[in-house]
């Protein structure tokens, strides 16, 4: 999956904005939005929030988890625990990137948040590499991966799945007469 497609899915998440315009309720195919009143917070998908923000039509309120204290706690927990702790949001990395790149003036302590999220990400990816390594080493047939986000899965998807398939083919080629998983070279 292309990372831009994961980002696309992240843009469906809702954020609160404070608009500076008024507009009636709007009936999108995917659901209703608004009404919009100046100064009154309203929930919109991130794709719309970013567009409005760029046109200076709103202020974006950072999601609750996007907070230095909360993220510091999560970072400590992530470092302490061996397993994956629940991610701040299923799209924490993408949302951090999108909101900090396009609305950093609305997010208090943006730089600290950037660093914290990067630390959490790095810790989790290191764990992910370790578990992928042991999965392959132990020739395991099943792994439970709760709390992993789509973007995290996406970073190892191709490499891990290709390796597993390749090893599977090599192993089944060892068994004479087995046509399963044979290399198809047409």
């Amino acid at each position: 999956m292309d990372p831009s497609e994961v980002e696309f899915l992240a843009e469906k998440e809702f954020v609160k904005i404070i608009p500076n315009f008024s507009l009636d309720k709007i009936y999108l195919i995917g659901g209703d939005l608004g009404p919009f009143n100046p100064g009154l917070p309203v929930d919109v998908p991130v794709w719309l929030a970013l567009n409005l923000k760029q046109r200076q039509k709103c202020r974006i309120l950072p999601p609750e988890w996007m907070d230095v204290e909360k993220l510091e706690e999560m970072r400590e927990l992530e470092r302490k625990e061996e397993a994956f702790t629940p991610a701040p949001s299923p799209y924490y990395m993408e949302l951090t990137k999108l909101l900090l790149n396009h609305a950093s003036d609305n997010i208090p302590k943006a730089d600290e948040i950037r660093t914290l999220v990067k630390d959490i990400w790095d810790t989790r990816i290191a764990k992910l590499r370790l578990s992928a390594d042991s999965f392959i080493r132990q020739q395991e047939a099943h792994a439970q991966l709760d709390n992993l986000t789509l973007m995290e899965i996406n970073t190892i998807r191709e490499f891990l799945l290709d390796s597993l398939n390749c090893m599977y083919k090599l192993r089944s080629n060892l068994q004479p007469g087995s046509s399963k998983g044979r290399f198809a070279d047409y």
Partner: protein, 189 residues
């Protein structure tokens, strides 16, 4: 050595990394077909002799030649099929009209296959949903609702961008516009 030429065809494609299309090797193809013809004729003769005179000692060489024939067939089909896959990919990369330097590398039959592929794809796309269908060769990347900065090179006057906003495009002024469509339209001006 038998099958050497057939393998050379495969290698030729293998050397072209990232799906490029080398010139169709008509000569190589003909040489493999000639080798096949020779192998087949020798086998016919040997089979006859084995049957009539009962020369069982010929059987191993008959088998060997037959394996070579199968391998040659396999390599040729693989060569041709892999080229089709590359040509197919070009339709998605360049659209329905291929650049001259690519067409130059295709055989007449490949051009014909490509023409039929385009037709099948077009009627598939026309048949999706309602009247006009859906061009699935568009929208290859997720849309971005973000804005970019453009500088006007000449006076254009009022211009309505996709979100309904009307902007004034004056020479050398800088504006922000939202949509790729709007921008590509401006670039065409």
């Amino acid at each position: 050595m038998f099958c050497e030429k057939a393998i050379e065809l495969i290698r030729e494609l293998h050397r072209m990394t990232d799906g490029q299309l080398p010139a169709f090797n008509e000569d190589g193809l003909r040489q493999v077909l000639q080798e096949m013809e020779a192998l087949y004729e020798q086998n016919q003769a040997d089979v006859n002799e084995a049957k009539t005179v009962g020369r069982a000692d010929l059987i191993p060489s008959i088998k060997l030649r037959h394996s070579c024939l199968l391998r040659n067939q396999r390599c040729i089909v693989a060569y041709l099929y892999d080229r089709l896959l590359r040509i197919r990919a070009l339709r998605w990369e360049y659209g329905s009209v291929l650049p001259a330097n690519v067409r130059f590398h295709m055989s007449a039959e490949e051009v014909q296959w490509f023409g039929q592929y385009k037709k099948s794809l077009a009627s598939f796309m026309r048949s999706i949903g309602g009247e006009e269908g859906l061009d699935i060769t568009q929208d290859m990347k997720p849309p971005k609702s973000l804005y970019i900065q453009v500088r006007c090179l000449k006076d254009h006057g009022e211009f309505e961008i996709d979100d309904g906003t009307v902007i004034l495009l004056k020479k050398n002024s800088q504006v922000r516009t939202g949509c790729f469509l709007a921008v590509s339209f401006l670039m065409l001006q």
